[in-house]
């Protein structure tokens, strides 16, 4: 086994080997981040005041009953052991039991809400990409639109989802009646219709951020010397913009978009609450007040994993976009 592996490895060129090593190192870093971060969540929840056994034991529990519950819940074992128990259940989709709903597993609670939240997040991500890029490119490409776009994004940047929600609801749902004010709907088109306002509310601030970064990086790139070279060679302005301005600005733009998407899942909780949508976010918030920490742990881990996976994808995209990252002599 080792032997075949070794000969397989030796057949790669040095460069491929370096790349594989770099990928492995990066993946290891990502896994480490997930483990450390979820452990931090686990430890924080375990340190929460109040004993879940007390809550379950009903009135006037005997010490024996408490001890029995502790054992049942696994609370008599060390924190690290419990954590790794929980971690080893992850690949099997075993997220533990809900403490509040005693006969349903955490996975059962998450399942139906997962679809709704993902729908909302993807919807918002698409809106952010389209609107953010459009506004940013308009502002970055045309000097006259720079000022107005800067003003527009500055204001939009300050509109959080929970403030956008009442504005959108009172204007588009209650005022004009175009969209429903609450609920998530069922079936694709119905969901699309129901989730348009939530997605907009969720998207607006991030969209402004992307537009701002797009606009400023396009302008910075336009002022760079190599764009002057391209112009000086008599290339048509459209070619210069596409090949030299947009292409190079794609690197910072993709970074910001990646961070945006990575943060959407957490932001969705607030918007779900504002629109009364029963999703992962509202589930987590409800579970916090109900002290149902297994559910909180599961959603929190999901948020962390989504973040790490997204940032890893962005990093991978960067190596594609920036040759300095994948070839010899490149810096950083």
């Amino acid at each position: 086994m080792t032997l075949t592996l070794h000969s397989a490895v030796s057949r790669f060129s040095g460069r491929t080997l370096w790349r594989i090593r770099a990928i492995v190192r990066r993946l290891a870093g990502a896994v480490l981040t997930v483990v450390v971060a979820t452990f931090a969540v686990y430890a924080a929840l375990a340190a929460a005041p109040g004993d879940p056994a007390l809550a379950l034991a009903g009135r006037n529990p005997t010490p024996e009953r408490i001890a029995q519950l502790h054992q049942e819940l696994g609370l008599d074992r060390p924190l690290v052991v419990r954590y790794f128990d929980w971690l080893s259940g992850l690949p099997r989709g075993d997220l533990g039991q809900s403490i509040v709903y005693r006969n349903s597993s955490v996975a059962d609670l998450l399942g139906p809400r997962f679809g709704t939240t993902v729908f909302l997040v993807v919807y918002a991500a698409v809106l952010i990409l389209l609107l953010g890029l459009l506004l940013g490119v308009l502002g970055g490409a045309f000097r006259r639109l720079n000022g107005p776009m800067a003003a527009l994004t500055s204001v939009a940047l300050a509109i959080p989802g929970f403030v956008a929600a009442p504005i959108l609801v009172s204007a588009l749902a209650l005022g004009l009646g175009w969209f429903p004010a609450v609920g998530a709907g069922s079936g694709f088109t119905d969901q699309l219709w129901h989730l348009t306002l939530p997605a907009l509310a969720l998207a607006i601030g991030w969209c402004a951020w992307l537009a701002q970064i797009t606009r400023t990086s396009l302008r910075a790139e336009k002022a760079s010397e190599h764009v002057g070279t391209a112009t000086g060679r008599g290339l048509p302005p459209v070619t210069v913009f596409r090949r030299h301005v947009l292409r190079n600005a794609a690197i910072p733009i993709s970074t910001v978009y990646g961070l945006t998407v990575a943060g959407l899942l957490a932001g969705a909780a607030v918007v779900e609450q504002a629109f009364g949508i029963d999703g992962l976010g509202t589930l987590m918030l409800r579970s916090v007040s109900a002290k149902d920490y297994n559910v909180v742990l599961a959603v929190a881990s999901l948020i962390i994993i989504a973040f790490v996976v997204t940032t890893q994808l962005v990093d991978a995209l960067h190596t594609v976009l920036d040759p300095r990252l994948r070839t010899k002599g490149g810096r950083k």
Binding site: G29, V41, P49, S154, G267, V270, L285, I304
Partner: protein
Amino acid sequence: MTAVTSTPVTASPPSRLRRWRKADPVLILSVLWCALAILVAVAAPLLAPYDPSQTDILAAAQGLSAQHWFGTDEVGRDIFTRVLYGARLSLLGPVLVVVIATAAGTALAIAAVWFGGWFDRLLTRVLDIAFAFPPLLLAVLSVVLFGPGLTAPVVALAVAYTPYIARVVRSAALRERHLPYIESCTLAGLSGPRICVRHILPNVLPLVRAQAVTSLGSSLLDLGAISFVGLGIQPPSAEWGLMVADGRTALLNGSPQESLAAGFMIIITVVAFNMLGERLAERAEVRA
């Protein structure tokens, strides 16, 4: 300043005058609004026409009128009064968050840059992990540990913002660290702490300031969101994020004043902070 005996050559009066005349209106408006917001927060009892917690069932859910400029809420409290009082908690939170995060982030970053080596690598690694926690998630954990109120969200956001500030300051400080003027301070036998405090810190300070002001805006948004979902300040306190949530039932019944009034206060204040931060950042960049 170390240069006690020196006579600094600063901008002469005429050029300063010209700069003021040319100062952009957006900046002036932003500064004015921030000053006004602080004034309102401090002097709310003097300015407010009513008591913020005084209920009046007979005058509940009223629209805009001469008696109640922004109308009343479901239990008849004056919304205008509550908006004014709301400035107190709504601004206090962000200020606390930013002061803690800026101090911690800057200190960590400069220390990491100065000592370098494993300390710097460890810090970078920890920051990377910290970025994986969105503010709301930290707020959830913080509430679990400390219970709802002002403390939990402030602690959560201070923890959430420290890595951002540390990252920005670290890269700036790293740039300064390897410039000849810092090396020549080392060669002149000046001590490490002195170089950090007297040379590196002042040179990254414009950037820190810009970052801090911008963070005021975003922490106001985040704290508002945390209150809105019920993890922060609890009713019946007046706080803008909480007021947006309080107004939801009234909103669905067709009277959106409470949500909108508080919402617009948030938006305008954040715009003002952002504008101010942006201008400070531009200035910091010109200096660099």
